[in-house]
Symmetry: C2
Subunit: 195 residues, 2 copies
């Protein structure tokens, strides 16, 4: 869906088709966060004032680019996984496996959001302070991406019969939530210091 | 920028040009929230089970569409306003006026986010409960849109010399923040009840 125009994509979300829906939007918010993080790196690299962090910023930029690309794949993967759930319900066949996949995709989105928040801490700390609000927006988008992804995991877990799997995933989400909140708070503390 | 592909837009954000930046992303997050809200309306309209709220949902859909379109304009308006700030700094002329415009555009984004959260409360309450996670993601995106917009207002206020204007805008933002948080909490309470 990344080849469609922004307008077309947004129209498609709004339409009466359930995909792309919240799970794809969660991943796209992550991609937007990743691209802003990259921008802050790009606005730091080559600036005399920030020469001593230039090499660090190049490494961070590369890592952000990888995460952003993964998020863009997840936009499509989420829609595909949800389409499979609907198909399974229609056929009354393979529902449980389809639900597991539809829970695993947003879990990946949530994991990438956490990785990005860790990078953002270093970017906010070392990067160009004229772009500090962009680092803040990137953190807000990564947080929204995480929390949106978690809602999508939870709605898919709801109808899952494998209670062991559910319990395991719920514990995993609780741990991830703490890590995300800590990462987010660390970035925003730096942002507030410079704003 | 709405005519560019999603990939092109995200690449442009990531580039070493400061626009589109955090302000445009704030508005785009709002547009994504609006389109998800519309989708929940569309997935409710025409369903037998929800026949008694059909007319309400049609009105809500129309309102969401208007907000979404406004958000899409704000993506471009924010980039244009920030380009003017940079031009003014280069020319050392008209800086204060350019900063005011660059503060007013994200204030508009923040206002639209609040309007959307109010609509989302009714949508979550009356809409199709199979799409409750989408209503939740819409609320999370509206919240991120609001908070991102506010960071952009604040960075533009920082260098403003008109202290009356600054004070007025700071009070306005504090009031808006309360309204946004209340609106957000109301939506998420309904979402949690059904998830």
């Amino acid at each position: 869906m990344m080849e469609e125009s922004v307008k077309e994509f947004i129209d498609k979300v709004a339409s009466s088709s359930p995909t792309p829906g919240g799970g794809s939007i969660a991943a796209l918010a992550g991609a937007m966060a990743g691209s802003l993080a990259e921008m802050v790196c790009n606005l730091t690299i080559g600036k005399k004032k920030y020469a001593d962090v230039e090499e660090d910023m190049k490494i961070l930029r590369k890592k952000c680019e990888g995460i952003r690309k993964r998020f863009m794949e997840l936009v499509d993967e989420d829609a595909a996984a949800f389409d499979k759930v609907m198909e399974a319900f229609k056929k009354k066949e393979g529902i449980q496996n389809a639900l597991k996949l539809a829970a695993e995709v947003p879990l990946d989105t949530a994991r990438e959001s956490i990785s990005l928040l860790h990078l953002l801490k270093e970017i906010a700390e070392k990067g160009n302070k004229n772009s500090i609000s962009d680092a803040g927006v990137a953190a807000l988008m990564a947080q929204a991406s995480f929390n949106s992804a978690i809602l999508n995991v939870r709605i898919n877990l709801k109808e899952m019969e494998d209670m062991d799997y559910r319990k395991r995933k719920e514990n995993e989400m609780a741990e991830m939530k703490d890590e995300m909140e800590n990462g987010f708070d660390e970035v925003m503390e730096i942002v507030e210091r410079w704003l």
